[in-house]
Each structure stands twice: as C-alpha cells, then as structure tokens.
Amino acid sequence: MSFWRQALEIARVDLTVEQRVGSTLRITLPFAVVALIVFPLALGLQLGVISAIGVGVFWALGILYGMQVALRQSATDGRERRDLHALLGVDPAARFTGRVISGGVLMVGFLLVLLGAMTVLFDPLLPEGAWPVLLLSTLLVAIGLTELATLAGEVTSGLSNRSVLASLIVAPLALPLIIGASQSVGALERDTSILPWILLLIASDLALAVAGVGLAQPLEEATR
C-alpha cells in the first residue's frame, strides 16, 4: 500500500474515533471558549483594553488548548496497536503524516471556532487587510502545532506521564509559531512587511515536517 494511502487511512480512522469520543468538540473547545470569556470579566469590562488584547489572547489560548487537541487521547497508540501497524508494514513516517492530517483538520476547526468566539467577545482592533493575514497565520500555526505535538507524542510514547511531558516539550518549541503569528498581524499595525513572519511560520512548519518524517522510524524503534 502506498505511503499516502496508509497516511490517509490512519487519518480517516483517527477522525472516526475522534467523532465518537468527541474530546475536542465536547471538552477542549468549550473550556477554551470559557477561558476566552474569563479574560474580559477579569479585566473589568474595559472595552478599549479588551479590543487591544483580543488577538494576543486568541494566540495564547489557541496554542495552550491546541496542544490538548493535538495530544488528545484518541491520537495515542498502545503497544498492541503499534505492533499491529509494524506487522502490517505501515511506514512510521506515513503514520506520523496521517496523525498530522487528522490532527491538523481538528486543529484548524478548533482555531477557527476560537477565532470566531474571540471576534464576538473582544471585538478586536485590527488594521486594514488583517483578516487574510490572520487566517493564513491560523492555518500555518495549526499545521506547525499539530506537527510539533505529534512529534512530542511519539517521543513520549509509552511513558506514564506522557501528556505532561509532551506539553512541556511542545510549549517552548511552539515559540516560533506564536511569535510568527502575533508579529504578522503586528507588522500590519506597524506598516512593515509581514513576509519575514509568514516565512518564519512556513519554515517552522517545513522543519517540523522534515523532523517528524525523518525521525519517525528511529522513534518507532526506540519506543518499542
């Protein structure tokens, strides 16, 4: 079976399981929206401040809760399933790619809903032409964060405190993503080029993709 067919099959089953478990839709997303609501209340309903910080709050919560989407339990393989995939000849790189596809679909949906909620709750002050940049940044952050969390999930596979360790790995390594995303909109406000920041996001996504695919096989062997 070809690499892409294996990857798509892994992604298809992941999404089917997630549809039935519903951890992203029923748990993570409502908590993230509640966290969005808490910010204006904590700031004492100062409308000017709320509008100014809206996009920043979106990125912070998007990264933090997005990690939980990417590290969801349904994306975790036990030893038996890993053994089964190995004996079926599933390429570890295809499994990584499949996980990124399914996680990416969920992450894009999650971030778009969160972005919509932020827009309603914070009425953010955005410079002209900011929406296409914001949407592009959201897409690139979703891909990078999913790759990063999937890689961290593989590194910590089989460990009892996997979710904590994986989060600790993802949080600092996600800095280029959050900087690139926030600065791309910031560049519009400063009337400077957004290109370096978009390129930072693209470079981060590509580097993580290469690392994930390249390390998939050795990680598979090391964590067996």
Binding site: M1, E9, V13, E80, R81, D83, L87, L88, R224
Partner: protein, 215 residues
C-alpha cells in the same frame, strides 16, 4: 529448505537485564513449535523477537531469510502474524471496522473482510463496538485478521487462554492453514496438554534458554 525462523545463540536484554541467553532455535517450514515455561522465563520476549519487534543484542535472529537487525523489514513483517496477550483493537470502532482498517492498511480486498468475519462466527455482531465486546469476540477478530493477512510465520502468545472450545478450534485451524502454505508456527502456552496435541515439537524455556540450548 530454508528455515522460517532461526535463532542463533540469540541474546536479548530488556532494561539491562538479560531475558534470552544464547538461545538456539530453528523452525522449519510446516513445523509447529510449542514453548512452555514459567512466568518470566522469556516466552513473550522470544515471541516479540521472532516478530522482529525486539532486536537481539547478541547472536542473531533470521526470519524468512532476513536478519532482524537489518533495515527495511517491512516485507518480512508483512509475512508475520502475531496474537499477543491483549487484542490490539481500537475500542471505539466496531469489530467489522477494526478488520476493515487492517484490510485497508494491508492492501487486502475489502470483500474478504465479511467472509473472514463469517468464518470466525462474528458476521452477526460485526457492528458491535470493540470496547463493548467480550474478550473472546475481540480475539476472534484477531483470528479473522490472520485469515486475511495469511502469514508465513504465525506467533501465538497464550492466544487460546480464556477462549471457549469453538474459538480454540479456530486457532488450531489457523495453525494448520499456515503450515499448509509451507509456513511455520511458534506457540507459547502454559497449557502443556494443548501444546502436546497441537505441536510437532514442544520444548520449555527456563531462565532465558531452551531445553538443550547452549547458554
């Protein structure tokens, strides 16, 4: 004729502790080797080593002509079938969907999924979720999986424990079908009587070495 599995003074350590010590074992085509032994004697490690999932750190293990320490084991692994202690099913999928997933990943014609489920007696309950199914039903899905993938080396690690007589007969039939294709089987069990009835040769493992193996 080339052996299906060849352990040549194979040693395996897990976490720095030697589990298999200088193990010699040759499994010829059509042979069914039964292995018994006390808990902790290394039976599961032997099975995982034969499945290429664990690599020997001393000696060598050759499966279907391929040294397991080498790279690119994909083709060899596709010729190995294993039933371990726990059924490796996805709980949120139905029994049928689990088997369909295997068929898709292995590039097997999906029409065969329904037939395999019928053979193992799960045709009527294929729509039941794996997490809501009994251990015996989940085990039968694994038997159906091996009917689909048609391995040349079949590895059974306590596969029959906890199963009713009908399911045990399915496993015995599976073993016979593998041997009929010039394959071979390694069967690990505490049930010596079952091994004696099924296997062409039965040996015991103690302290990481087989009876008669040099340490």
């Amino acid at each position: 004729m080339e052996p299906v599995a060849h352990f040549d003074k194979a040693g395996v350590s897990l976490g720095g502790r030697p589990v298999l010590r200088g193990l010699d074992l040759i499994v010829a085509p059509r042979e069914i080797v039964g292995i018994s032994g006390p808990n902790g004697s290394g039976k599961t490690t032997l099975i995982r080593t034969a499945a290429t999932l664990t690599t020997p750190d001393r000696g060598s293990v050759t499966i279907l002509g391929k040294d397991t320490r080498g790279r690119d084991l994909g083709a060899t692994r596709r010729s190995i079938g294993m039933i371990g202690h726990s059924p490796g099913l996805i709980g949120e999928l139905t029994l049928g969907e689990n088997l369909d997933h295997v068929a898709r990943l292995a590039g097997i014609e999906r029409a065969r999924v329904g037939r395999a489920l019928d053979v193992v007696g799960l045709g009527e309950v294929a729509g039941r979720r794996a997490e809501a199914s009994s251990f015996g039903m989940r085990r039968r899905v694994e038997i159906a999986r091996l009917l689909l993938t048609k391995p040349r080396l079949l590895l059974l690690d306590e596969a029959a424990s906890g199963l009713d007589e009908a399911a045990r007969q399915l496993i015995d039939a599976l073993v016979e079908s593998v041997c009929a294709r010039e394959g071979a089987c390694i069967v690990v069990s505490h049930d010596r009587a079952h091994l004696d009835g099924l296997c062409t040769r039965v040996t015991s493992l103690a302290g990481g070495s087989l009876e008669g193996s040099s340490a």
